[in-house]
Symmetry: D3
Subunit: 201 residues, 6 copies
């Protein structure tokens, strides 16, 4: 089957403004490929810049002079779990890959994507995901009991903000990626530590 022309074609790297091209080349240098979202959103530079500034403020708090009690693995676990609730293939695959790397668990991405309640994660992470899922699906109903459940696992209100804003930001990303039909790069599917392959059928 031939693929139809994309509805929102990505611009060429060479045609992008310098700041955007520099950032993208930096990612390519580190990861070995350019994740599609970098070029896919680049057709609107002002939105691109706001998106990645927001992204970095949340996912790289040190880059904006802030520390966070959430680990890198925690953050990616929130993204993978809530993106699965939003049925966003790109974010499940891309952030699931990074999650495997940070958590050093080859199975964790599939586990949280399909059913985080049965995943092999710490009770603290389970509480974190319960809160994230409520922000994702029923933010209007969050109340003091939801914060208390976080506090019982050592999270404070700044951590709650982190969980909420990561969930909310990737909810934006999930909707844009799904709406525009963006696909994850094949390279993501197997990034990170993996179990030994068995003898095949």
């Amino acid at each position: 089957m031939t693929t139809p022309a994309p509805r929102y074609p990505a611009p060429e790297l060479v045609n992008l403004p310098d700041d955007m091209r520099a950032r993208i080349l930096e990612v390519q240098d580190k990861a070995g490929f350019i994740p599609n979202v970098f070029l896919g959103f680049a057709r609107r530079p002002a939105e691109w810049r706001a998106f990645f500034a927001y992204h970095d403020a949340l996912m790289l708090p040190e880059s904006v002079g802030r520390t966070s009690n959430l680990t890198k693995g925690d953050r990616e676990m929130i993204v993978t779990t809530t993106s699965a609730a939003n049925s966003c293939l790109y974010c499940v695959v891309a952030h699931g890959a990074i999650l495997r790397i940070y958590e050093k668990k080859p199975l964790v991405a599939d586990q949280v994507a399909v059913n985080y309640r049965k995943a092999d994660i710490a009770p603290r992470q389970r509480a974190m995901l319960d809160f994230a899922m409520k922000v994702c699906l029923q933010s209007h109903a969050i109340d003091d009991a939801d914060f208390a459940a976080l506090h019982a696992h050592g999270f404070d209100d700044e951590d709650a903000w982190d969980i909420a804003v990561i969930t909310a930001f990737f909810g934006l990303s999930n909707r844009m990626v799904s709406f525009s039909g963006m696909q994850p790069n094949p390279e993501f599917y197997l990034m990170g530590p993996v179990p030994k392959p068995p003898k095949l059928v």
Copy 2:
């Protein structure tokens, strides 16, 4: 009843970085008050800057050198309708107020917030809201038929992007405002043209 101390107290205007304070004073000068979201999100400057840069890129496209076929009223109508679907009081009240002003219709904000299908709006706006609601609630299921329904009313794919990204961005905002318990300023409730008050009961 005494109000408990807020979980996320807003910083004082005087303590904010210059760029943030300048922007906020500009808003206050224009509107006559400071919408709570400006101070409520200011506790995290990097997130604040990304949020309002994103906001302006979508809601003030001319400010980033872009034109849009959506009118100012269209944009506020999308925000009001999808924020109601997310049960976000702040955004329904604040953007409903601006919607009344731009559309010059005192009833339209309540209409789209309660049931946009029965609102007194143009068929083109009804199609716009159908698309926005699908991005809001079922972005994973958007397909070519949804775009075709927009095209039938004269929207092109750039307009579809506008509808989607405004919906997605305010979905982020809805979740942050609801999660953190932010309330709309009382001033918003009656902004804009209003019908003649009747004799009261």
Copy 3:
């Protein structure tokens, strides 16, 4: 856009039976206008008479020789909140207006319509609305725990009946008004106490 002929045109006041016309004129005299539901339902006199007899038995208990622990504001709050859950514009706007008057709070109608969980109401009213919403959305699942939650706030079983029957009756009204396309009178939108209007944008 020209409005199509209504599917269910309202009869002329002059053509109505004496008892109905008298009641309607009394309302007009008090409110300054005739709420549309009075003429909209008048096309079927027997149903009209039963509807308003039922209405008065619930909303004006003294008129049938009964007292109630619910205040007038409580009753209108139940109507506004559950009508919003049923997406009924007419009842949200009309009863929201009366709610503002009785509660002397300009913001309360919008608050309970969009998200009653975050509204500035008494804990007792919050419990009342929790019960009403369960009658509205899941009446088959009401059990002793739901009554106990009411009792904890000083409501007795007669009050529970009041909450339930007001919710159930306006559920009927919501469905008839939505199905038949009835619109609220513009006069309702701004009835009641209102905050000072700000300087406009």
Copy 4:
């Protein structure tokens, strides 16, 4: 297990006002027993009178000088189907019994209660139930296409009103009966024509 005292005990027939007692005795004379709803709702006479006046205006249109294109069986079919959607045991059992009598089909009540889409009913009745179920579950979304689907089967707008108001009225009844824990009389379960009993297991 001993049954707890009922939360809302029914009054004694002998203590009721004359008009109510007369009506109830008339029903008892005809049916051979007093359906529980007649005594269960009698504790509030004004509500009782409005309820049964409304009931008669809808279910016995000739009694209020109106004719209807819906048959008696049609009306009971609407009640049985929508009451099942509301999980109301009393109305499913009581009106299912009457439905069997009017339709002369021993199986039809169970069929429409469990899955009206697979019931052995006329296509016209299927369209009627589709409309009724939309009024029951999504009245805010009814639009011209729903009326057109009725018209295609020979229903006019007055018939649509009948379907809607019967659905809406029994939605009220369903909620009151479920909330108050009213049980159907055992006599209802086997009223109407029944198939020959088989040899038992």
Copy 5:
């Protein structure tokens, strides 16, 4: 209305393999008729044999050398309740009939089918149905608290397995019966003890 030819016609009994015919004749001899599922599924003998082997392992545990703390009535109650949740007419009617026989309660089948929460059953059976309904509708969310609720009523983990596998197996049956349009035999509707018929209307 003439019935269209069935999409999946049942084979003739005479054409079936000996083992299947023998089993079916045995059922007919006991019940007085052949339940439609026996012939309806017989068009694929290998699936038929697996289906009924599974059925017997669950519903006739003694036939496979196993005992169960669930009574015959318990098992049929699970089937009737969860089949109603899946809107499967055949299983509600057929297993509701057997439920009436085993429980010796003429009303219980309708009660659990319409709203098991209000049925006249033991608290132990209510807990059993809560667990069954969670397996039916949200199996991914079952956790230790659900098992603890069973244990509080004297069920052990083997009983939990019984409840789960009966629910899961009839979920398979519900889907096949609904998808293929299979109807229950009329004989089922009135099997079992029944209340005295009243004087008809």
Copy 6:
């Protein structure tokens, strides 16, 4: 964190009846490991035998003398997609692995599990999955239009039966695996063809 003792410990292979042990050793010989479901369900031999007889009748039709127009890849795609809808980790991971092998597409399992509507599959397979998902989630509402949509892609009614029964059978499996807390073998996660791993972050 130490893992608690499993609620339903699997029996030792050596203690199983000969027929079960032989079948399991055959699987182990072919796959290189014993999939957990084989031992997890073995604690109830009669159920185990019925389960795998059913499984083979559906997934290995040639083994029961039947041919099917569904390919091996089609069958595994149905299982992976509907198991994801049921949030069953075991079946998504195990059958996703086999799906990758049969379809020779390293990405297809993740694609259909997260959002089959956006997966890179043939239109015929998309129609197949639409039908499977309706059997999975709304079997009571399947009607002629659903069959017609299959026919338009060359499927006949026997193929429809195959799609339905595979969906229904794995719905049973999903519920049992989730309820009992069974985990997939780590070996499954990377079975099948995989893309070249990128340079890691």
